[in-house]
């Protein structure tokens, strides 16, 4: 057996070379993530130790994983092509974060130094301020999640995507015209027209469920999942954070991802490990079609066949994701995602998330019930119909002149 193993390992090593070479040649490949030795050595949060394996010898991706370190998606321009902060910069960033954590929330009772209690804006912010979660305390050594292009920033949008987004913004702004959250003026005629494109943003209208945002309709399950940062206790429990986590369970033939994200929206994604081709081009799914294969120690998940109802930072049905999962060490799972949509960005880009292992026993991955508990969507429609009825009877204000989208004069997200 020993001799057989020798030969087999040698053959495996030989076979791996063309795989790595092929990976570097792909149009959509980002920087080879395992070359960030500086990041690993300076990432004090990573535990030392070899990456664990499953009983059947595959890299073990299993566990509950969350993002604990604050890192901007795009790199601030001052860092140029630098992927990592210096020790000094990192310490300053940690100090700044901890100081920021002491300030009142983003949606505080103040605006521009003035106390705004009792105003429309104050009421609109009340929800966010009440539900504010615990704040992250760690800062990543990375200057950005995006590692390719080399400047760490998203590539430019194509003219087609820019035109699409401009039309959408004009439409959403038009629906706020004449309300406290928009430009002064008469009610826009666009209010009586459908949106120019499938809409997932919050709109200042509630003629029917399609007018409401993706969050309000419980359509939160879109790829790629980008976890926000939330704190973990020293023994690995997430504490009062809305950042979310993912549970991974792995077998020789499939990998299951359960995402507990979006404040109570839980979504399951089972990805077969297969050499089967993707679905035919005209067959589209909300989450696209995911198929996985191993490339050495990396699980590569290829996702295509998205529907037109996608909107990852402006992309639509031509979104193509290549996700790479690496168990870097016992405490760290690195997820590197290449995003490619030639109808939206002029070139692909790659971003990385380094997730920390959560403790297993507290089992803090909870079932989502967004749709099952969606009283809000029903209530929004009921209330709007009631407001329209009152207005028609001369007993209430015109709902068309109210801002029910931007949060009382703030800029819509």
């Amino acid at each position: 057996m020993r001799v057989k193993g020798n030969r087999y390992v040698f053959l495996m090593a030989l076979a791996a070379v063309p795989i790595v070479a092929a990976g570097l040649v792909q149009r959509t490949a980002g920087q080879n993530p395992s070359s960030s030795a500086k990041g690993e050595s300076s990432a004090k949060s990573a535990a030392n130790g070899a990456a664990p394996k499953t009983a059947w010898g595959a890299p073990d991706l299993q566990g509950i994983w969350s993002n604990v370190a604050v890192v901007p998606f795009e790199r601030p321009k001052q860092y140029g092509e630098r992927q990592f902060l210096t020790e000094d910069e990192h310490q300053k960033a940690v100090d700044a974060l901890l100081k920021r954590d002491q300030l009142p929330g983003r949606d505080s009772r103040e605006s521009q130094g003035k106390d705004i209690r009792g105003t429309e804006k104050d009421v609109a912010r009340a929800y966010n301020e009440h539900w504010f979660g615990d704040k992250p305390t760690e800062v990543s050594y990375r200057t950005s999640q995006i590692i390719d292009p080399p400047d760490g920033r998203m590539p430019a949008y194509t003219p087609e995507a820019q035109a699409r987004m401009k039309k959408q913004k004009e439409y959403l702004d038009a629906l706020l015209q004449g309300t406290s959250g928009g430009k002064p003026g008469p009610i826009s005629p666009m209010r009586y027209q459908p949106p120019p494109d499938y809409n997932l943003d919050r709109m200042n209208r509630a003629d029917g469920p399609e007018d409401r945002s993706a969050e309000e309709r419980c359509f939160l399950d879109r790829l790629p999942i980008v976890l926000a940062a939330g704190p973990l206790t020293p023994d690995g429990r997430p504490v009062g954070s809305f950042a979310g986590e993912v549970r991974i369970v792995e077998s020789p033939e499939s990998v299951d991802f359960y995402y507990d994200v979006g404040q109570g929206s839980g979504f399951n994604r089972v990805v077969p490990i297969t050499n089967r081709p993707h679905l035919a081009k005209d067959v589209r799914e909300y989450w696209g079609d995911s198929i996985a294969h191993w490339e050495g120690e990396t699980l590569v998940v290829d996702v295509t066949n998205f529907t037109h109802e996608s909107d990852f930072r402006g992309s639509r049905e031509n979104l193509h994701l290549i996700e790479r999962y690496q168990r870097v060490n016992p405490k760290t799972l690195r997820i590197t995602i290449t995003v490619d949509d030639p109808t939206t960005w002029v070139k692909p880009f790659t971003f990385v998330q380094e997730l920390r292992k959560n403790a297993d026993k507290p089992n803090m991955v909870y079932e989502g019930g967004c749709h099952e508990g969606n009283q809000a969507l029903l209530d929004m429609l009921v209330n709007t119909r009631a407001a329209e009825k009152l207005f028609s009877e001369g007993k209430g204000p015109d709902p068309a002149k109210e801002d029910n989208a931007s949060g009382g004069g703030a800029v819509p997200e």
Binding site: K4, A22, C218, P252, Y258, N275, E367, L381
Partner: protein, 323 residues
């Protein structure tokens, strides 16, 4: 290098009677180049065990009609109204255009003794649920189907059997359940799909599930439960392609005693078998929110022989928000 030899040895030891061919197949991930050379239609060799237990990975589906009715039943309309004869109901208005597609297929029951021991008031509730199926079945709202219903809905589900978790991902609206083989804390609130803890007794996976809410049904025939529901499920492989699946149901609020259902779950071996998305949340918006549109959208349909007009109705009082 040494590590690689180490786990080769462990695998040979733990595989038992499994031949060396299996060892070589599962020792290391196959390089993509080699895999592409293999015909896409040939299924990869499958280990007989996972960590010493029967391998339950794969795509499975029940072939019973339990999702319609857990008891033995003959053909009947999905929604019925009295016909000319008192004991021969006919297709009612919501389904009359469907003809044969509007029927409940017949099927043998899956319940031991072909009877569910409802308490008298619960039996009356079940009958009322069945009569108001179209208005009340949570499945029609695209809600999570609960357990055991998810196990015998007529859609496939995929089992991912890992080191100490077994996840079942259901095609129906992406519902899922996780069976914990290691000791973990239960969830802080009741759930739709329950909290499942499993252990092996020989070749049988025994799963205890509770922490249910009272929101799911067992079938389209109105079978229901309270939040006191507790299940004991047993999964026993009959061969590599079939699992015997048995469920003991206990709920002192609804049933006079525990009762049991059993069926076979079949593994899909077509190499093209896959889960696709049955995401129905967007599709059902018209059904349960259509009456709240500013302007009615779905109101009239005309075929060659039938015209259907929809008038919405808002129930009085609390029933406006009936779940």
């Amino acid at each position: 290098m040494r590590k690689r030899f180490g786990y080769l040895t462990v695998l040979v030891a733990s595989a038992g009677i499994v031949g060396a061919a299996f060892c070589l197949t599962i020792t290391a991930p196959a390089p993509r180049a080699a895999a592409q050379a293999a015909p896409a239609t040939a299924p990869a060799a499958r280990p007989a065990t996972i960590s010493g237990h029967p391998n339950m990975n794969g795509i499975w589906e029940a072939t019973t009609t339990a999702n319609w009715d857990l008891l033995t039943h003959t053909t009947r309309p999905m929604v019925s109204q009295p016909g000319v004869y008192p004991d021969v109901p006919v297709l009612a208005a919501p389904v009359v255009a469907l003809g044969a597609a509007g029927g409940v297929p017949p099927g043998p029951g899956v319940v031991d003794g072909d009877e569910i021991p409802y308490k008298p008031e619960a039996a009356a509730q079940k009958k009322e649920n069945a009569e108001h199926w179209l208005d009340r079945d949570p499945e029609l709202r695209c809600y999570m189907p609960g357990v055991p219903r998810a196990m015998y809905m007529p859609y496939p589900f995929e089992i991912t059997q890992g080191t100490n978790k077994i996840v079942m991902g259901f095609e129906f609206n992406g519902a899922s359940r996780t069976i914990h083989l290691d000791p973990v804390d239960p969830p802080p609130a009741d759930t739709w799909m329950g909290f499942s803890v499993g252990h092996w007794e020989g070749n049988t996976l025994v799963v205890n599930t509770d922490h249910f809410n009272d929101r799911t049904w067992f079938s389209r025939a109105g079978d229901f439960h309270s939040d006191a529901l507790k299940l004991v499920e047993r999964f026993t492989p009959m061969n590599p392609y079939a699992l015997r699946y048995e469920v003991t149901v206990e709920d002192a609020n609804v049933f006079t005693k525990p009762w049991k259902m059993s069926m076979v779950l079949y593994r899909q071996i077509d190499p093209n078998a896959r889960l696709m998305e049955y995401k129905c949340v967007e599709m059902v918006e018209e059904t349960y929110l259509g009456h709240l549109r500013k302007k009615q959208l779905v109101k009239h349909w005309e075929g060659d022989t039938m015209v259907v007009d929809i008038t919405r109705k808002v129930p009085q009082g609390d029933k406006l928000y009936e779940r």
